[in-house]
Symmetry: C2
Subunit: 366 residues, 2 copies
């Protein structure tokens, strides 16, 4: 029988957009579900931290204000592990950063019995050795590690793929639009109905609307999608070495790879519109539209990211706004895939995936 | 810390299409994951049973053969509860029937600490009192109850709705096609492209292909969809009294409600084709197609099941084959819903939902 304990300690690293939304959801969760008592025991930004070596408790409601007025620097991660391992009950670390350093410390935290929930893609899409070290450490210690929001934000993508694999289905192919930015760009540039805008103008608009990274090249290089594909491929059983070990098509013209700023990139991009226009027209001549997709073919051990064309009636073509769509083709589901669709980015829905993971871990450790 | 135990006992009631697929998945699961050891300790059909009062163990591989040659009748459900409660470790009851009697016994099983996983809709869509009794019994004893396959078979519908609610999102509306039979019928009768067939001919074809119940009226009366809507509405917070306490449109012509057999129904249905044809044409004149859908509007506490029209570009219109589609509109997801789509019926995918639930319960009780 599971031992009954009445409290769990939560450590939060990272208080950016997702971190702030998560704290708000954590506060509401602690109010709705008084048992087990959720004690925030550590919170840190990149420059500050709050902790409490006396009773491991920080008020969740005022945590951000306390952090803002704190004069403490964040502890080194090995010290965080020592501090958390000494807590008087089970601990869950919530990593809301996109830091490779924090990701690299997951095996350490897990080996000390500290469970992890996170949207951080770096841990699961970095070197394959890190992936193995993480899950080996978790298996040995019994600590849990959940990362639903590392692909498709709060959409049930990771959990669905795990269920398919764990129940013995054979996933044959995974295909989809995994980037909200790319979705928005191509739904505007090459809509199913109407002419669509010029490529450079759509990129500019997406940046103005906040759909791109500060430098849009960080979206257009395809690496974000490649990281998500790496995670899904590994869950489907392919030992993908890294997000650069398979073909990833960059939409950055070679000549603009080295210009010094995102602004300069946007200024010079119109000169290269003809390339994308040709791609769009070639698709249109076949009655199709072009989209930026990722796909995993399990049987042939092939993962790729880049432009592909789709019939206008295909669910990938019909996507709206900045939505993601992920299709799982499996032996059991046959010809028609299991499809998950919806917003795949944004603070609230990303934090929702993290909070959902936290609830799943709570149900297993207390 | 969770107590470590090395075995769990599994009881299986029901060995029809879903039950047989489940046993095959259970056998594979027991091989893939030797810990905890999964001991089948009871299996029954409607007329026979196998159990083992000595060591509570029946070989999973040969269970169906043993059942076929058994001379034991199934125990009364109260005796099954006694037998399972006396097992030397945690027990999970897998109800693969669609029996109201078994469903009515869930509070008894749960109160004795026996967890339940099931695709049986009856327990969760029957009287509201049964719903409350089930979840009250589970809360008090700590036993788990999971029923993913009660809506959309193995599609992650229930788990997604629970995650939305548990993490504090507000579900405003749920809409979709919840019946594989209705999906197949309307995708053929009123396709997005082309003329489609005659209504009665499509019903006949669906029956021949095995997509309908033996008497197609059991699909056309809308009750199956109403049961699924009842479950989702309750999970979204609406205390729906029963699947007959909200408007459900039946597609059975009044004159044919009382004919004696499904065959006679099919024979007489062509005389009523003009009704459905008019509905189809009225939709077409608006550039739309007609579909049989269920919807839940949480704010107005309104649940309904019946025919509605959709733009041809709407995801519900574009559905293929016998697929289900379920759209969750929530505060966090805004204008574009979270959509789940795919096969919502069939032995293998229904059993998959049951096996997935079993794995979730295992992760919490051992």
């Amino acid at each position: 029988m599971a031992a009954v304990t009445n409290q769990v300690f939560i450590a939060v690293i990272g208080v950016g957009g997702v971190g702030k939304c998560f704290l708000s959801q954590l506060s509401a969760l602690a109010t709705r579900r008084p048992t087990p008592k959720l004690n925030l025991c550590y919170i840190s930004s990149s420059t500050k931290a709050v902790f409490n070596t006396t009773d491991y408790s920080i008020g969740i409601e005022n945590a951000l204000q306390e952090l803002a007025s704190s004069s403490e620097a964040p502890m080194p991660l090995s010290k965080v592990a020592d501090y958390l391992a000494a807590a008087p009950a089970k601990v869950i670390l919530v990593d809301n950063t996109s830091s490779q350093d924090v990701a690299n410390a997951y095996p350490l935290f897990l080996s000390r019995g500290i469970s992890i929930v996170t949207p951080n893609k770096k841990a699961f899409s970095g070197p394959y050795k890190l992936w193995k070290d993480i899950f080996t450490a978790a298996r040995i210690s019994g600590a849990k590690v959940y990362h639903e929001s590392s692909v498709g934000a709060g959409l049930p993508v990771i959990s669905t793929l795990k269920d398919l694999v764990d129940t013995g289905d054979e996933v044959t192919k995974i295909e989809g639009v995994f980037s909200g930015t790319m979705s928005f760009l191509f739904n505007s540039f090459a809509p199913v109905q109407g002419a669509g805008g010029q490529w450079s103008a759509e990129v500019k608009k997406a940046k103005e609307l906040g759909y791109t990274e500060p430098d849009p090249r960080d979206d257009l290089n395809g690496l974000d999608v490649a990281r998500k594909l790496t995670i899904l491929a590994r869950l489907a059983g392919l030992p993908v070495e890294s997000p650069t070990s398979f073909p990833v098509q960059s939409l950055i013209p070679k000549e603009l790879e080295t210009v010094s700023s995102g602004d300069e990139f946007l200024e010079k991009l119109p000169a290269f519109d003809s390339q994308m226009e040709e791609t769009k027209l070639a698709a249109e001549e076949q009655g199709k539209v072009v989209r930026f997709v990722g796909s995993i073919d399990v049987a042939s051990n092939s993962v790729k990211v880049g432009l592909e064309t789709f019939d206008k009636s295909h669910p990938i073509a019909a996507l709206k706004g900045s939505d993601n769509i992920i299709s799982f083709y499996t032996r059991r589901y046959g010809g028609n895939p299991l499809i998950i669709q919806g917003a795949g980015a944004g603070g609230e829905v990303t934090a929702m995936g993290v909070t959902g993971d936290l609830i799943k871990v709570l149900s297993q450790i207390v």
